[in-house]
Protein backbone atom coordinates (compact mmCIF):
# COMPACT_ATOMS: atom_id res chain seq x y z
CA UNK A 1 0.00 0.00 0.00
CA UNK A 2 2.66 2.45 1.03
CA UNK A 3 4.68 1.63 -2.07
CA UNK A 4 1.72 2.56 -4.26
CA UNK A 5 1.46 5.93 -2.58
CA UNK A 6 5.15 6.65 -3.09
CA UNK A 7 4.93 5.49 -6.68
CA UNK A 8 2.08 7.89 -7.44
CA UNK A 9 3.97 10.83 -5.92
CA UNK A 10 7.12 9.85 -7.84
CA UNK A 11 5.10 9.63 -11.04
CA UNK A 12 3.75 13.12 -10.43
CA UNK A 13 7.25 14.47 -9.80
CA UNK A 14 8.65 12.90 -12.94
CA UNK A 15 5.77 13.22 -15.36
CA UNK A 16 4.24 16.62 -14.60
CA UNK A 17 6.37 18.59 -17.13
CA UNK A 18 5.24 16.04 -19.72
CA UNK A 19 1.68 17.42 -19.37
CA UNK A 20 2.86 20.76 -20.77
CA UNK A 21 4.50 18.89 -23.64
CA UNK A 22 1.28 17.04 -24.43
CA UNK A 23 -0.78 20.24 -24.32
CA UNK A 24 1.66 21.98 -26.66
CA UNK A 25 1.76 18.99 -29.00
CA UNK A 26 -2.04 18.94 -29.26
CA UNK A 27 -2.06 22.66 -30.00
CA UNK A 28 0.63 22.17 -32.64
CA UNK A 29 -1.34 19.40 -34.34
CA UNK A 30 -4.43 21.63 -34.41
CA UNK A 31 -2.40 24.44 -35.96
CA UNK A 32 -0.78 22.12 -38.50
CA UNK A 33 2.70 22.59 -37.07
CA UNK A 34 5.25 19.98 -36.05
CA UNK A 35 5.55 21.62 -32.68
CA UNK A 36 8.24 21.51 -30.05
CA UNK A 37 9.50 18.15 -28.72
CA UNK A 38 7.29 16.47 -26.14
CA UNK A 39 10.08 16.76 -23.60
CA UNK A 40 10.76 20.46 -24.21
CA UNK A 41 9.76 21.40 -20.65
CA UNK A 42 12.46 19.06 -19.29
CA UNK A 43 15.11 20.59 -21.58
CA UNK A 44 14.10 24.07 -20.43
CA UNK A 45 14.34 23.05 -16.79
CA UNK A 46 17.77 21.46 -17.30
CA UNK A 47 19.02 24.55 -19.10
CA UNK A 48 17.70 26.95 -16.46
CA UNK A 49 19.18 24.91 -13.60
CA UNK A 50 22.67 25.21 -15.14
CA UNK A 51 22.46 28.99 -15.30
CA UNK A 52 23.08 31.54 -12.57
CA UNK A 53 20.41 33.77 -11.10
CA UNK A 54 20.46 37.55 -11.42
CA UNK A 55 18.93 39.68 -8.67
CA UNK A 56 18.03 43.30 -8.97
CA UNK A 57 19.35 45.61 -6.24
CA UNK A 58 15.85 46.78 -5.35
CA UNK A 59 14.71 43.30 -4.37
CA UNK A 60 14.82 41.86 -0.86
CA UNK A 61 14.75 38.36 0.56
CA UNK A 62 11.07 38.06 -0.39
CA UNK A 63 12.00 37.98 -4.04
CA UNK A 64 14.51 35.16 -3.46
CA UNK A 65 12.18 33.22 -1.18
CA UNK A 66 9.21 33.40 -3.57
CA UNK A 67 10.12 30.60 -6.01
CA UNK A 68 11.36 28.26 -3.27
CA UNK A 69 8.29 28.65 -1.07
CA UNK A 70 6.04 28.44 -4.11
CA UNK A 71 7.57 25.13 -5.18
CA UNK A 72 7.67 23.89 -1.60
CA UNK A 73 3.98 24.49 -0.93
CA UNK A 74 2.99 23.00 -4.28
CA UNK A 75 5.00 19.90 -3.35
CA UNK A 76 3.22 19.78 0.00
CA UNK A 77 -0.13 20.05 -1.78
CA UNK A 78 0.93 17.17 -4.01
CA UNK A 79 1.39 14.99 -0.93
CA UNK A 80 -2.28 15.60 -0.02
CA UNK A 81 -3.83 14.73 -3.37
CA UNK A 82 -4.97 11.16 -3.98
CA UNK A 83 -4.40 9.87 -7.48
CA UNK A 84 -6.65 7.46 -9.34
CA UNK A 85 -7.84 5.45 -6.33
CA UNK A 86 -4.48 5.51 -4.56
CA UNK A 87 -4.83 7.37 -1.26
CA UNK A 88 -2.59 10.38 -0.77
CA UNK A 89 0.72 10.11 1.07
CA UNK A 90 -0.61 12.28 3.89
CA UNK A 91 -4.27 12.46 4.75
CA UNK A 92 -6.26 13.55 7.75
CA UNK A 93 -9.72 14.93 8.39
CA UNK A 94 -9.92 18.47 7.05
CA UNK A 95 -6.90 18.27 4.78
CA UNK A 96 -8.91 19.77 1.92
CA UNK A 97 -8.71 23.17 3.60
CA UNK A 98 -4.97 22.76 4.01
CA UNK A 99 -4.77 21.77 0.35
CA UNK A 100 -6.61 24.90 -0.83
CA UNK A 101 -4.47 27.16 1.33
CA UNK A 102 -1.16 25.55 0.42
CA UNK A 103 -2.00 26.63 -3.12
CA UNK A 104 -2.96 30.00 -1.63
CA UNK A 105 0.42 30.24 0.13
CA UNK A 106 2.23 29.52 -3.13
CA UNK A 107 0.21 32.24 -4.80
CA UNK A 108 0.84 34.69 -1.96
CA UNK A 109 4.59 34.33 -2.28
CA UNK A 110 4.58 34.49 -6.09
CA UNK A 111 2.57 37.70 -5.82
CA UNK A 112 4.79 39.12 -3.05
CA UNK A 113 7.92 38.38 -5.07
CA UNK A 114 6.37 40.14 -8.06
CA UNK A 115 5.51 43.19 -5.93
CA UNK A 116 8.99 43.12 -4.40
CA UNK A 117 10.61 43.96 -7.74
CA UNK A 118 8.95 47.37 -7.64
CA UNK A 119 8.00 47.08 -11.29
CA UNK A 120 4.60 48.56 -12.11
CA UNK A 121 4.11 45.91 -14.81
CA UNK A 122 4.60 43.05 -12.39
CA UNK A 123 2.38 44.78 -9.85
CA UNK A 124 -0.37 44.80 -12.45
CA UNK A 125 0.00 41.07 -13.00
CA UNK A 126 -0.01 40.48 -9.26
CA UNK A 127 -3.19 42.49 -8.88
CA UNK A 128 -4.92 40.46 -11.60
CA UNK A 129 -3.76 37.16 -10.17
CA UNK A 130 -5.18 38.03 -6.77
CA UNK A 131 -8.41 39.38 -8.22
CA UNK A 132 -9.11 36.17 -10.13
CA UNK A 133 -8.01 33.95 -7.26
CA UNK A 134 -10.56 35.68 -5.04
CA UNK A 135 -13.30 34.03 -7.13
CA UNK A 136 -11.50 30.82 -8.10
CA UNK A 137 -10.74 29.88 -4.49
CA UNK A 138 -14.38 29.84 -3.26
CA UNK A 139 -15.30 27.85 -6.38
CA UNK A 140 -12.67 25.23 -5.47
CA UNK A 141 -13.55 25.15 -1.77
CA UNK A 142 -17.32 24.98 -2.31
CA UNK A 143 -16.85 22.22 -4.88
CA UNK A 144 -14.76 20.27 -2.38
CA UNK A 145 -17.41 20.97 0.25
CA UNK A 146 -20.09 19.51 -2.02
CA UNK A 147 -18.05 16.35 -2.54
CA UNK A 148 -17.28 16.16 1.17
CA UNK A 149 -20.96 16.44 2.07
CA UNK A 150 -21.80 13.79 -0.53
CA UNK A 151 -19.27 11.23 0.71
CA UNK A 152 -19.40 12.23 4.41
CA UNK A 153 -15.65 12.56 4.57
CA UNK A 154 -13.47 15.56 5.25
CA UNK A 155 -10.22 14.40 3.71
CA UNK A 156 -9.38 14.35 0.03
CA UNK A 157 -8.41 10.68 0.11
CA UNK A 158 -11.66 9.82 1.88
CA UNK A 159 -13.71 11.78 -0.65
CA UNK A 160 -12.18 10.05 -3.63
CA UNK A 161 -12.24 6.65 -1.95
CA UNK A 162 -15.95 7.21 -1.25
CA UNK A 163 -16.61 8.13 -4.89
CA UNK A 164 -14.56 5.18 -6.08
CA UNK A 165 -16.38 2.66 -3.90
CA UNK A 166 -19.80 3.96 -4.95
CA UNK A 167 -18.64 3.80 -8.57
CA UNK A 168 -17.37 0.25 -8.04
CA UNK A 169 -20.82 -0.67 -6.71
CA UNK A 170 -22.21 0.28 -10.10
CA UNK A 171 -19.90 -2.08 -11.91
CA UNK A 172 -18.02 -1.19 -15.04
CA UNK A 173 -20.70 1.08 -16.49
CA UNK A 174 -19.48 4.53 -15.48
CA UNK A 175 -22.44 6.07 -17.28
CA UNK A 176 -24.80 4.47 -14.76
CA UNK A 177 -22.80 5.96 -11.95
CA UNK A 178 -22.86 9.41 -13.55
CA UNK A 179 -26.61 9.20 -13.80
CA UNK A 180 -26.83 8.31 -10.11
CA UNK A 181 -24.23 10.59 -8.52
CA UNK A 182 -24.31 12.35 -11.78
CA UNK A 183 -25.40 15.96 -11.66
CA UNK A 184 -23.31 16.68 -8.59
CA UNK A 185 -20.17 15.09 -9.95
CA UNK A 186 -20.53 16.72 -13.34
CA UNK A 187 -21.19 20.14 -11.78
CA UNK A 188 -18.22 19.87 -9.47
CA UNK A 189 -16.04 18.43 -12.22
CA UNK A 190 -16.98 21.33 -14.49
CA UNK A 191 -16.21 23.84 -11.75
CA UNK A 192 -12.86 22.18 -11.03
CA UNK A 193 -12.01 22.22 -14.73
CA UNK A 194 -12.59 25.98 -14.94
CA UNK A 195 -10.56 26.45 -11.76
CA UNK A 196 -7.87 24.26 -13.33
CA UNK A 197 -7.73 26.53 -16.38
CA UNK A 198 -7.67 29.68 -14.24
CA UNK A 199 -5.14 28.52 -11.66
CA UNK A 200 -2.76 27.22 -14.29
CA UNK A 201 -3.06 30.28 -16.51
CA UNK A 202 -4.42 28.32 -19.47
CA UNK A 203 -6.11 29.96 -22.41
CA UNK A 204 -9.61 31.20 -21.70
CA UNK A 205 -8.13 33.03 -18.73
CA UNK A 206 -4.50 33.69 -19.56
CA UNK A 207 -2.22 32.85 -22.46
CA UNK A 208 0.86 30.92 -21.31
CA UNK A 209 2.73 31.79 -24.52
CA UNK A 210 2.62 35.56 -24.38
CA UNK A 211 5.44 37.48 -22.81
CA UNK A 212 4.82 40.92 -24.15
CA UNK A 213 1.14 41.58 -24.00
CA UNK A 214 -0.42 43.85 -21.44
CA UNK A 215 -3.17 41.35 -20.76
CA UNK A 216 -1.15 38.48 -19.36
CA UNK A 217 -1.29 37.40 -15.76
CA UNK A 218 0.97 34.62 -14.61
CA UNK A 219 3.87 35.16 -16.98
CA UNK A 220 4.16 38.83 -16.10
CA UNK A 221 4.72 38.07 -12.43
CA UNK A 222 7.77 35.93 -13.08
CA UNK A 223 9.51 38.20 -15.60
CA UNK A 224 12.33 39.14 -13.24
CA UNK A 225 13.17 35.65 -12.09
CA UNK A 226 16.09 33.93 -13.76
CA UNK A 227 18.13 30.75 -13.69
CA UNK A 228 17.29 28.17 -11.02
CA UNK A 229 14.57 30.44 -9.60
CA UNK A 230 12.76 30.42 -12.92
CA UNK A 231 13.26 26.66 -13.14
CA UNK A 232 11.63 26.31 -9.71
CA UNK A 233 8.70 28.42 -10.85
CA UNK A 234 8.23 26.51 -14.08
CA UNK A 235 8.53 23.16 -12.35
CA UNK A 236 6.09 24.40 -9.68
CA UNK A 237 3.65 25.44 -12.43
CA UNK A 238 3.92 21.98 -14.01
CA UNK A 239 3.28 20.35 -10.63
CA UNK A 240 0.28 22.61 -10.11
CA UNK A 241 -1.13 21.30 -13.40
CA UNK A 242 -0.75 17.80 -12.01
CA UNK A 243 -2.16 18.59 -8.56
CA UNK A 244 -5.34 20.36 -9.68
CA UNK A 245 -5.62 18.01 -12.66
CA UNK A 246 -5.67 15.08 -10.25
CA UNK A 247 -8.69 16.70 -8.58
CA UNK A 248 -10.50 17.08 -11.90
CA UNK A 249 -9.73 13.55 -13.06
CA UNK A 250 -10.38 12.06 -9.63
CA UNK A 251 -13.79 13.66 -9.29
CA UNK A 252 -14.96 12.88 -12.83
CA UNK A 253 -13.51 9.39 -13.26
CA UNK A 254 -13.27 7.59 -9.94
CA UNK A 255 -11.90 4.43 -11.52
CA UNK A 256 -10.68 1.78 -9.17
CA UNK A 257 -8.97 -1.00 -11.09
CA UNK A 258 -9.11 -4.49 -9.71
CA UNK A 259 -5.37 -5.05 -9.65
CA UNK A 260 -3.18 -2.47 -7.84
CA UNK A 261 -0.59 -2.54 -10.63
CA UNK A 262 -3.06 -0.85 -12.96
CA UNK A 263 -3.84 2.04 -10.60
CA UNK A 264 -0.93 4.31 -11.57
CA UNK A 265 -1.39 3.42 -15.24
CA UNK A 266 -5.04 4.49 -15.14
CA UNK A 267 -4.16 7.65 -13.21
CA UNK A 268 -1.47 8.69 -15.68
CA UNK A 269 -3.75 7.92 -18.62
CA UNK A 270 -6.41 10.15 -17.03
CA UNK A 271 -3.94 12.99 -16.61
CA UNK A 272 -2.75 12.70 -20.21
CA UNK A 273 -6.37 12.67 -21.41
CA UNK A 274 -6.96 15.85 -19.40
CA UNK A 275 -3.89 17.42 -21.05
CA UNK A 276 -5.31 16.53 -24.48
CA UNK A 277 -8.66 18.11 -23.54
CA UNK A 278 -6.87 21.27 -22.37
CA UNK A 279 -4.95 21.36 -25.64
CA UNK A 280 -8.20 21.11 -27.60
CA UNK A 281 -9.81 23.84 -25.48
CA UNK A 282 -6.81 26.09 -26.06
CA UNK A 283 -6.92 25.47 -29.79
CA UNK A 284 -10.61 26.14 -30.33
CA UNK A 285 -11.10 29.03 -27.91
CA UNK A 286 -9.84 32.57 -27.91
CA UNK A 287 -8.68 34.12 -24.70
CA UNK A 288 -11.46 35.97 -22.91
CA UNK A 289 -11.31 39.68 -22.45
CA UNK A 290 -9.81 40.47 -19.08
CA UNK A 291 -13.08 41.98 -17.90
CA UNK A 292 -15.06 38.83 -18.56
CA UNK A 293 -12.66 36.46 -16.77
CA UNK A 294 -14.24 37.04 -13.32
CA UNK A 295 -17.51 36.34 -15.06
CA UNK A 296 -16.30 32.88 -16.16
CA UNK A 297 -15.05 32.20 -12.65
CA UNK A 298 -18.42 33.30 -11.25
CA UNK A 299 -19.86 30.63 -13.52
CA UNK A 300 -17.57 28.04 -11.90
CA UNK A 301 -18.64 29.32 -8.50
CA UNK A 302 -22.28 28.99 -9.54
CA UNK A 303 -21.71 25.37 -10.58
CA UNK A 304 -20.13 24.60 -7.20
CA UNK A 305 -22.92 26.29 -5.28
CA UNK A 306 -25.63 24.45 -7.23
CA UNK A 307 -23.84 21.17 -6.50
CA UNK A 308 -23.53 22.01 -2.81
CA UNK A 309 -27.18 23.07 -2.56
CA UNK A 310 -28.28 19.83 -4.25
CA UNK A 311 -26.23 17.72 -1.87
CA UNK A 312 -27.43 19.48 1.25
CA UNK A 313 -31.07 19.57 0.20
Amino acid sequence: MAIEQFVSVALALVLSPLLLGVINRVKAIFAGRTGQPLLQAYYDLAKLLRKGAVYSRTTTWVFRAGPTIGLGSTLAALMLVPMGGTPALVSFSGDLVLFAYLLGLARFFTVSAALDTGSAFEGMGASREVQFAAVAEPALLLGLAALAARTHSLSLSGIFAGSASSAAAHGPAIFQWWLQMGPIVLLVGGAFFIVFLAENARIPVDDPNTHLELTMIHEVMVLDHSGPDLAFIQYGAALKHWVIGALVVGSLLPVHPAHPVWTPVVAVAGMLALAVVVGVVESVMARLRLLSVPHLLMGALALSVVALVLVIY
Binding site: P183, M298, L310, Y313
Partner: protein, 214 residues
Amino acid sequence: MNAWTDVIVVLVALTNLGLLGSSRLSVCIRVVAVQGIFFGLAAVLLRAEPITVDLAVVAAASAIVKGIVFPVLLLRTARNVNIRREVEPFVGFSTSLFVGLVLLAFALWIGAQMPVEANPTGSLVIPLALFTVMVGLFTIASRRKAVTQVLGYLTMENGIFAFGVTVVGGIPVLVELGVLMDVFVAVFVMCIATWHISREFDHVDVDQLDALKG
Protein backbone atom coordinates in the same frame (compact mmCIF):
# COMPACT_ATOMS: atom_id res chain seq x y z
CA MET B 1 -36.64 7.71 -12.98
CA ASN B 2 -35.37 9.57 -9.95
CA ALA B 3 -31.92 9.96 -11.45
CA TRP B 4 -33.42 11.54 -14.56
CA THR B 5 -35.36 13.96 -12.36
CA ASP B 6 -32.11 15.14 -10.82
CA VAL B 7 -30.50 15.55 -14.22
CA ILE B 8 -33.37 17.63 -15.57
CA VAL B 9 -33.59 19.72 -12.40
CA VAL B 10 -29.89 20.54 -12.60
CA LEU B 11 -30.02 21.32 -16.30
CA VAL B 12 -32.97 23.67 -15.85
CA ALA B 13 -31.30 25.37 -12.90
CA LEU B 14 -28.25 25.87 -15.11
CA THR B 15 -30.35 27.36 -17.93
CA ASN B 16 -31.74 29.85 -15.41
CA LEU B 17 -28.26 30.83 -14.31
CA GLY B 18 -27.17 30.98 -17.94
CA LEU B 19 -29.97 33.45 -18.70
CA LEU B 20 -28.81 35.62 -15.81
CA GLY B 21 -25.14 35.38 -16.67
CA SER B 22 -24.87 35.88 -20.41
CA SER B 23 -24.96 39.18 -22.19
CA ARG B 24 -25.34 37.89 -25.75
CA LEU B 25 -28.96 38.03 -26.77
CA SER B 26 -28.89 35.03 -29.12
CA VAL B 27 -27.43 32.91 -26.33
CA CYS B 28 -30.17 34.05 -23.95
CA ILE B 29 -32.88 33.23 -26.50
CA ARG B 30 -31.49 29.74 -27.09
CA VAL B 31 -31.09 29.14 -23.37
CA VAL B 32 -34.75 29.95 -22.77
CA ALA B 33 -35.72 27.74 -25.71
CA VAL B 34 -33.76 24.81 -24.27
CA GLN B 35 -35.42 25.46 -20.94
CA GLY B 36 -38.85 25.29 -22.57
CA ILE B 37 -37.98 21.92 -24.11
CA PHE B 38 -36.70 20.61 -20.77
CA PHE B 39 -39.92 21.64 -19.06
CA GLY B 40 -41.91 19.90 -21.78
CA LEU B 41 -39.88 16.76 -21.08
CA ALA B 42 -40.23 17.27 -17.35
CA ALA B 43 -44.01 17.38 -17.63
CA VAL B 44 -43.93 13.87 -19.10
CA LEU B 45 -41.09 12.36 -17.09
CA LEU B 46 -41.58 13.77 -13.63
CA ARG B 47 -45.13 12.82 -12.83
CA ALA B 48 -45.91 9.94 -10.57
CA GLU B 49 -49.09 9.01 -12.42
CA PRO B 50 -49.01 7.23 -15.77
CA ILE B 51 -48.82 9.44 -18.79
CA THR B 52 -52.12 10.29 -20.41
CA VAL B 53 -52.75 11.37 -23.98
CA ASP B 54 -53.83 14.81 -22.79
CA LEU B 55 -50.63 15.35 -20.90
CA ALA B 56 -48.52 14.20 -23.81
CA VAL B 57 -50.32 16.59 -26.15
CA VAL B 58 -49.85 19.54 -23.79
CA ALA B 59 -46.19 18.72 -23.20
CA ALA B 60 -45.45 18.27 -26.90
CA ALA B 61 -47.28 21.46 -27.89
CA SER B 62 -45.51 23.41 -25.17
CA ALA B 63 -42.08 22.05 -26.14
CA ILE B 64 -42.64 22.82 -29.83
CA VAL B 65 -43.95 26.35 -29.26
CA LYS B 66 -41.33 27.26 -26.67
CA GLY B 67 -38.43 25.38 -28.20
CA ILE B 68 -38.90 26.21 -31.88
CA VAL B 69 -41.49 28.91 -32.58
CA PHE B 70 -40.50 31.43 -29.91
CA PRO B 71 -36.75 31.35 -30.58
CA VAL B 72 -37.36 31.84 -34.30
CA LEU B 73 -39.67 34.80 -33.59
CA LEU B 74 -37.34 36.33 -31.04
CA LEU B 75 -34.18 35.84 -33.08
CA ARG B 76 -35.87 37.51 -36.03
CA THR B 77 -37.00 40.41 -33.84
CA ALA B 78 -33.52 40.80 -32.37
CA ARG B 79 -32.09 40.90 -35.89
CA ASN B 80 -34.69 43.40 -37.09
CA VAL B 81 -34.17 45.81 -34.22
CA ASN B 82 -30.44 45.28 -34.61
CA ILE B 83 -29.34 44.44 -31.09
CA ARG B 84 -26.95 41.63 -30.28
CA ARG B 85 -26.25 42.04 -26.63
CA GLU B 86 -27.70 43.54 -23.50
CA VAL B 87 -25.46 46.50 -22.78
CA GLU B 88 -25.29 47.93 -19.28
CA PRO B 89 -28.18 46.20 -17.53
CA PHE B 90 -29.37 47.70 -14.24
CA VAL B 91 -27.70 44.81 -12.41
CA GLY B 92 -24.38 43.53 -13.78
CA PHE B 93 -23.97 39.98 -15.02
CA SER B 94 -21.75 38.68 -12.22
CA THR B 95 -24.03 40.29 -9.67
CA SER B 96 -27.04 38.80 -11.44
CA LEU B 97 -25.44 35.34 -11.20
CA PHE B 98 -24.88 35.90 -7.50
CA VAL B 99 -28.49 37.04 -7.04
CA GLY B 100 -29.52 33.91 -8.95
CA LEU B 101 -27.67 31.72 -6.46
CA VAL B 102 -29.35 33.51 -3.56
CA LEU B 103 -32.73 33.04 -5.25
CA LEU B 104 -31.95 29.33 -5.68
CA ALA B 105 -31.25 28.96 -1.97
CA PHE B 106 -34.41 30.94 -1.19
CA ALA B 107 -36.53 28.74 -3.49
CA LEU B 108 -35.16 25.61 -1.82
CA TRP B 109 -35.95 27.07 1.57
CA ILE B 110 -39.52 27.84 0.55
CA GLY B 111 -39.82 24.35 -0.90
CA ALA B 112 -38.75 22.93 2.44
CA GLN B 113 -41.29 25.10 4.31
CA MET B 114 -44.20 23.86 2.21
CA PRO B 115 -46.72 21.51 3.79
CA VAL B 116 -46.05 17.90 2.94
CA GLU B 117 -49.32 17.32 1.12
CA ALA B 118 -48.41 20.05 -1.38
CA ASN B 119 -45.26 18.16 -2.36
CA PRO B 120 -45.83 14.51 -1.51
CA THR B 121 -42.82 13.21 -3.43
CA GLY B 122 -40.51 15.73 -1.79
CA SER B 123 -38.95 16.28 -5.18
CA LEU B 124 -36.92 19.27 -6.24
CA VAL B 125 -39.38 20.18 -8.99
CA ILE B 126 -41.41 22.64 -6.90
CA PRO B 127 -38.42 24.65 -5.67
CA LEU B 128 -37.15 24.58 -9.23
CA ALA B 129 -40.43 25.97 -10.58
CA LEU B 130 -40.37 28.71 -7.93
CA PHE B 131 -36.74 29.45 -8.78
CA THR B 132 -37.62 29.75 -12.45
CA VAL B 133 -40.48 32.18 -11.72
CA MET B 134 -38.19 34.30 -9.53
CA VAL B 135 -35.44 34.35 -12.15
CA GLY B 136 -37.98 35.45 -14.75
CA LEU B 137 -39.16 38.30 -12.54
CA PHE B 138 -35.61 39.33 -11.78
CA THR B 139 -34.74 39.33 -15.48
CA ILE B 140 -37.70 41.60 -16.24
CA ALA B 141 -36.71 43.96 -13.43
CA SER B 142 -33.00 44.12 -14.10
CA ARG B 143 -32.66 44.38 -17.87
CA ARG B 144 -33.13 47.34 -20.18
CA LYS B 145 -33.86 45.84 -23.57
CA ALA B 146 -37.42 44.93 -24.50
CA VAL B 147 -36.33 41.61 -26.02
CA THR B 148 -34.63 40.50 -22.80
CA GLN B 149 -37.75 41.39 -20.88
CA VAL B 150 -39.78 39.18 -23.19
CA LEU B 151 -37.32 36.41 -22.29
CA GLY B 152 -37.91 37.09 -18.60
CA TYR B 153 -41.65 36.83 -19.17
CA LEU B 154 -41.18 33.51 -20.99
CA THR B 155 -39.02 32.16 -18.19
CA MET B 156 -41.68 33.07 -15.68
CA GLU B 157 -44.29 31.31 -17.78
CA ASN B 158 -42.04 28.24 -17.95
CA GLY B 159 -41.92 28.15 -14.17
CA ILE B 160 -45.68 28.47 -13.84
CA PHE B 161 -46.19 25.74 -16.45
CA ALA B 162 -43.85 23.41 -14.56
CA PHE B 163 -45.63 24.16 -11.31
CA GLY B 164 -49.04 23.55 -12.82
CA VAL B 165 -48.28 20.38 -14.74
CA THR B 166 -46.15 18.59 -12.16
CA VAL B 167 -47.91 19.63 -8.97
CA VAL B 168 -51.50 20.61 -9.43
CA GLY B 169 -52.24 18.03 -12.09
CA GLY B 170 -55.71 17.53 -13.46
CA ILE B 171 -55.80 20.91 -15.18
CA PRO B 172 -58.04 20.37 -18.18
CA VAL B 173 -56.09 20.07 -21.38
CA LEU B 174 -58.18 22.83 -22.91
CA VAL B 175 -57.07 25.27 -20.23
CA GLU B 176 -53.40 24.36 -20.67
CA LEU B 177 -53.63 24.76 -24.44
CA GLY B 178 -55.49 28.04 -23.96
CA VAL B 179 -52.70 29.35 -21.73
CA LEU B 180 -50.13 28.26 -24.28
CA MET B 181 -52.09 30.08 -26.98
CA ASP B 182 -52.20 33.22 -24.83
CA VAL B 183 -48.47 33.08 -24.28
CA PHE B 184 -47.93 32.65 -27.98
CA VAL B 185 -50.07 35.66 -28.80
CA ALA B 186 -48.36 37.68 -26.06
CA VAL B 187 -44.90 36.93 -27.41
CA PHE B 188 -46.07 37.62 -30.93
CA VAL B 189 -47.50 41.00 -29.93
CA MET B 190 -44.43 41.85 -27.86
CA CYS B 191 -42.16 41.11 -30.80
CA ILE B 192 -44.18 43.42 -33.03
CA ALA B 193 -44.32 46.08 -30.30
CA THR B 194 -40.54 45.84 -29.87
CA TRP B 195 -40.07 46.36 -33.56
CA HIS B 196 -42.31 49.42 -33.52
CA ILE B 197 -40.52 50.84 -30.49
CA SER B 198 -37.23 50.41 -32.29
CA ARG B 199 -38.54 52.05 -35.48
CA GLU B 200 -40.04 54.98 -33.60
CA PHE B 201 -37.25 55.69 -31.12
CA ASP B 202 -34.18 54.06 -32.72
CA HIS B 203 -33.57 51.93 -29.64
CA VAL B 204 -35.33 49.35 -27.47
CA ASP B 205 -34.27 50.63 -24.05
CA VAL B 206 -37.52 50.49 -22.13
CA ASP B 207 -36.32 52.71 -19.29
CA GLN B 208 -36.00 55.56 -21.77
CA LEU B 209 -39.68 55.23 -22.55
CA ASP B 210 -40.35 57.15 -19.31
CA ALA B 211 -39.41 60.32 -21.10
CA LEU B 212 -42.15 61.14 -23.57
CA LYS B 213 -41.19 62.09 -27.06
CA GLY B 214 -42.56 65.55 -27.72
